[in-house]
Symmetry: D2
Subunit: 263 residues, 4 copies
């Protein structure tokens, strides 16, 4: 593992995110329109977060669900990133999209459903971009680390892990956020790990406490879903924070900072 990843979560020519900073990523589940995306991007910028997420190519369980704006979505992300000086995080579902993503995206996301798509992992190992690798919802912590090993051993050491919940019998939440993975990964890997409380819980009313719990458990950052009008979202509205809810999260993180920094 490179020394780089021990102190620095991710690095760009104009931006370095250290572990002490935490990596904070926010945005809508899907890019739906210029207005929707820009409103969220503005909020992200105001918060001090520097990373905008938004799905353009959406892997959906149901073939008849909204599949994302695709190339048009990438263009909107690029425009929003330029307008608000943000970095873009978005999911890549096939290696044939790499040329398009290399030009527009700052961090390539591998979704939970593709964590064990080893063919994709092998191909992305050659991309000179940081990769956010989400834990599969039926993957053990060991399997997550072995999936990361496909990337690292293939040549890409800029891997950021993401805990996003595992599938259990509990139905009160969409998945069960397994925060124990955070301190365990810290013990056996040099890779940074962030937490996605939005997909894990599937309910915006508990995203804030679970996000904060994740940081206190030792996570190097967060990824949260934010939408200006969650009930109208084309995807995952139930788990999206409103802009107001997002500001509350940011305020709580700032309140918690003195504790986190001294750590």
């Amino acid at each position: 593992m490179s020394v780089l990843t021990r102190d620095i979560i991710v690095q760009f020519p104009d931006l370095t995110v250290r572990r002490s900073d935490r990596l904070l990523i926010a945005g809508p589940c899907s890019v739906e329109s210029r207005d929707q995306l820009f409103r969220v991007a503005e909020s992200v910028r105001e918060s001090g977060f520097r990373f905008l997420r938004g799905g353009a190519f959406k892997p959906r369980t149901n073939p008849y669900s909204f599949q994302g704006l695709q190339e048009e979505g990438l263009k909107l992300l690029q425009a929003a990133a330029k307008e608000f000086d943000l970095k873009i995080v978005t999911e890549i579902v096939d290696a044939s999209h790499l040329p398009m993503f290399m030009d527009t995206v700052d961090i390539l996301q591998i979704g939970a459903r593709n964590m064990a798509n080893f063919h994709l992992l092998k191909q992305l190992a050659h991309a000179s971009k940081p990769i956010l690798l989400k834990r599969g919802f039926a993957a053990t912590i060991e399997e997550l680390l072995l999936a990361a090993e496909y990337l690292v051993s293939g040549g890409n050491q800029q891997v950021i892990l993401c805990e996003r919940g595992i599938r259990t019998f509990e139905t009160a939440t969409r998945a069960t956020l397994d925060l124990s993975s955070v301190p365990i990964v810290k013990k056996i890997s040099a890779l940074p790990i962030i937490v996605d409380p939005s997909h894990a819980t599937g309910r915006s009313d508990i995203v804030v406490p679970m996000a904060l719990a994740g940081l206190v458990a030792g996570a190097d950052g967060l990824m949260v879903e934010v939408h200006p009008n969650p009930p109208k979202a084309l995807c995952d509205g139930l788990q999206s924070l409103t802009l107001e809810g997002f500001r509350e999260l940011v305020a709580e993180i700032n309140r918690l900072k003195p504790y986190l920094i001294k750590k």
Copy 2:
């Protein structure tokens, strides 16, 4: 639900624990000897924690495992509590033990394996003692609340819930600590809920971060296992903090307090 339980977690003639205080319970998995118990009890007292746990009647998966000191264990708990001015929390496995427990114990614990032992719940509903009800490791949050309802509807409103992990496919931990249950319980119940990171994780090396994460998620307290010599423990040594580890946990809790208090 009584107004009492909204602000106060548990109340005795000489001690009231409010939600802002948090309820902190520590002690060995099993009472093994006077020396073992007194060393832990002294540490608990020094920490400012006021509740000593220790198993006397142990429900063990394997009939050939150590089954606890039973009545002798209760007597040792009583002696330690007197010596260090602590309250006793210990598990009751059958209603026929009630007379013995009523004289010696301050909080009756219902273990995870008995959460759905509704016959026991009905009988303990008549006991005028606070009850710590642990979530069954295959119980949903709703089922935990319905189990509590057996106690509350039966007349005992002094119920404290305890999240202690659920059984999942992950093998890196003994169970998966489901911290999402904490904010969910807060939304739909007036009952206090604490977190047991020791049984949930089964590994002492991540007990501290998970305990702190639990508090930040909103838990009203903690229950942790502490043993003066974990490798020699007759039960659950892998998950027990040493006395030194316990002092570190207490230090971290104190460091986190400014954040928790303002909340």
Copy 3:
């Protein structure tokens, strides 16, 4: 393990059930009325099955659900058994009920929720009655065998195990019937094991194929729920076969017999 249990599933002065016979138990989830119970008992008798199940003391998740007719239920079971020359299988939830059950019941059932109620197991180990021990819905196969060991090592070797499904993420069924437990138990234990497809699946429309699959996997018998009018059942109506459905099951078992016998 006694030699007895290797060839014989269960034995009474007037009835011996060998492994080659299979142990077939049927009846309503709860005893509700004389008419309900007698109609089912008559069907059971006609089928050639000799064991009638019916809950009198019901462990219910919700304290406000129907809790069973209790002693009155036991009396109705006794009357039906006498009228149709059947043996009675019913659940015991507390050892204090033993005297009452010793007089009326032929096989004591320990329910899934009490499989790890080791205090109850220790007390029932002294009862001179066969025991049907259901697998807890979060219990591993090893834990089921260790629970049985509480009975066997305590002196009661007449133990019959019952696979009734485990809790998983799948929601199309109430639990996931784990038929792999059947051949595994055969490999490592001399105890007989039967299958309860009614509680496992929670849906009567697949009880017949799952019952037959259980027998072909090697099960020593079945326990199925039957109700004369499932939509009106006070408990678990969705998973109960009608009398007609029960006759179909019996016909299929008879059709499968040539295959099973030669085995």
Copy 4:
């Protein structure tokens, strides 16, 4: 759904497999050598099974595990199929391999890890080959059917589903074979479904009873792993039947046929 799939599982110019025939697929986990593959293929042919499975491109959890013989593996499969007049079933992990597979393979297998790789599903929907779609080990039955819908709605109606176990807390088996999925799929879909007891159980000692249970539950066929020398297998040796074990399975299936045929 086409009328075709209701009576016929899969059809080739020179071979039609009807539901009453059952679709029986056997072979090694990985193609390792000509000798290994030809010995298995000969056994398959002798048994009356007509479909040979064997992995050429292997998705492995660990990047340092054997990844398959790849193109060389496909060539060996083709040679064995020609020699013994068998059809080939093998896994495709990326759409870019399609041209190569179209020339050599008879049924394209989508592995459990790729069931929710919707990008791959969309591309295979255009292939004019039958597809064997394995259930993801964390997928619900509904999600399996929705994944199939990606293929069917995309134009490929020759889809065969495969139950191969789901991930649960039980550790005695590799996964938990969920045979309930078989009758449930029958009720809500016209697609055929087969059972893979080898991957589900992960232990060859219970493959035979679970295979037979699957057929009695209503499965349209089986896929089993067979290896001439399981302890030397490069992949999944523990779950592979020996040639002798495979002959026993075939004998049992033949013994069960009178029951299955009349069904």
